[in-house]
């Protein structure tokens, strides 16, 4: 298993470079992952999306689709793409410490 040093700790990663264990995630790690993804600062809207994604994942075992993010996270599609310019669903999942989303939508 590959590892990375995040927020001063050695963290296990999966084959896609996402965190291997949900429980390793902290807000500090999220901030470092965001910087790696080119997002200098996580705003309140970023956190809204990240928290929503973690909640759905914990309850249902997969990250929400872009449609659900748009409908239920409290952030609309246009904002979502501004917040995570290089692909909102995947980028947000990575920062939220979740595996790559399984769905196509």
């Amino acid at each position: 298993m590959p590892t990375a040093t995040l927020a001063g700790k050695t963290i296990e990663l999966d084959a896609d470079g996402h965190l291997a264990n949900l429980a390793d995630w902290t807000e500090e790690i999220a901030r470092e992952l965001a910087k790696e993804a080119g997002i200098e600062e996580l705003t309140e809207d970023h956190w809204k999306v990240i928290r929503f994604m973690r909640k759905v994942y914990e309850e249902e075992g997969d990250a929400p689709s872009i449609r659900r993010l748009t409908k239920e996270s409290g952030v609309d599609t246009k904002t979502l793409y501004k917040l995570f310019p290089k692909g909102p669903a995947k980028k947000a999942a990575k920062i939220a410490g979740l595996p790559k989303p399984k769905g196509c939508i």
Partner: protein, 160 residues
């Protein structure tokens, strides 16, 4: 799977939708949305019967074709019975909803909001005597085939 060649990731796609049945329209929409989700630049170009998906009055009423499609595993004579297409459409919509695939109108809005440009083909618009007002508000313009190629500079073109 080791490969000596390093391929450049796809940066831009230009997707043509040429069919007007429900199953003819969705692949292009799913690919356009999927491209934007991956951070790939995307544009959609609707031509011939594909225009049905962006004509305001028609886009909510697209149907699955039950005749002339061997993959439906339905004899043509059954497929042509009244109500068969409506039934197949209802079933497909139900399955799509389970996968969180939105209805056409909502999908077009989602895709457009994600930054994908949406165009109608000039030749078809003229042939069917359509006007800009006949289309849903997400349509960014009506393009000639030449303009389509210009806009597709640097893109992979996908015909569906």
């Amino acid at each position: 799977m080791a490969n000596e060649t390093e391929y450049k990731p796809i940066e831009k796609v230009s997707i043509i939708v040429s069919r007007g049945s429900l199953e003819g329209v969705y692949p292009g929409l799913i690919m356009a949305n999927g491209a934007r989700m991956e951070g790939i630049e995307a544009q959609l170009f609707f031509t011939f019967f594909g225009l049905e998906a962006i004509i305001d009055k028609r886009m909510d009423h697209l149907k699955v074709a039950t005749v002339g499609n061997p993959a439906m595993h339905m004899p043509t004579i059954i497929g042509m019975l009244p109500g068969m297409s409506a039934l197949a459409t209802r079933m497909m919509k139900k399955e799509m909803e389970k996968l969180d695939i939105p209805p056409v109108r909502e999908f077009i809005t989602l895709i457009h909001d994600s930054g994908c440009e949406i165009y109608a083909c000039k030749a078809t618009v003229d042939m069917f005597h359509l006007k800009k007002e006949d289309f849903c508000p997400e349509v960014d313009g009506i393009l000639t085939v030449g303009e389509f190629y210009e806009k597709s500079a640097g893109a992979q073109i996908i015909f569906t």
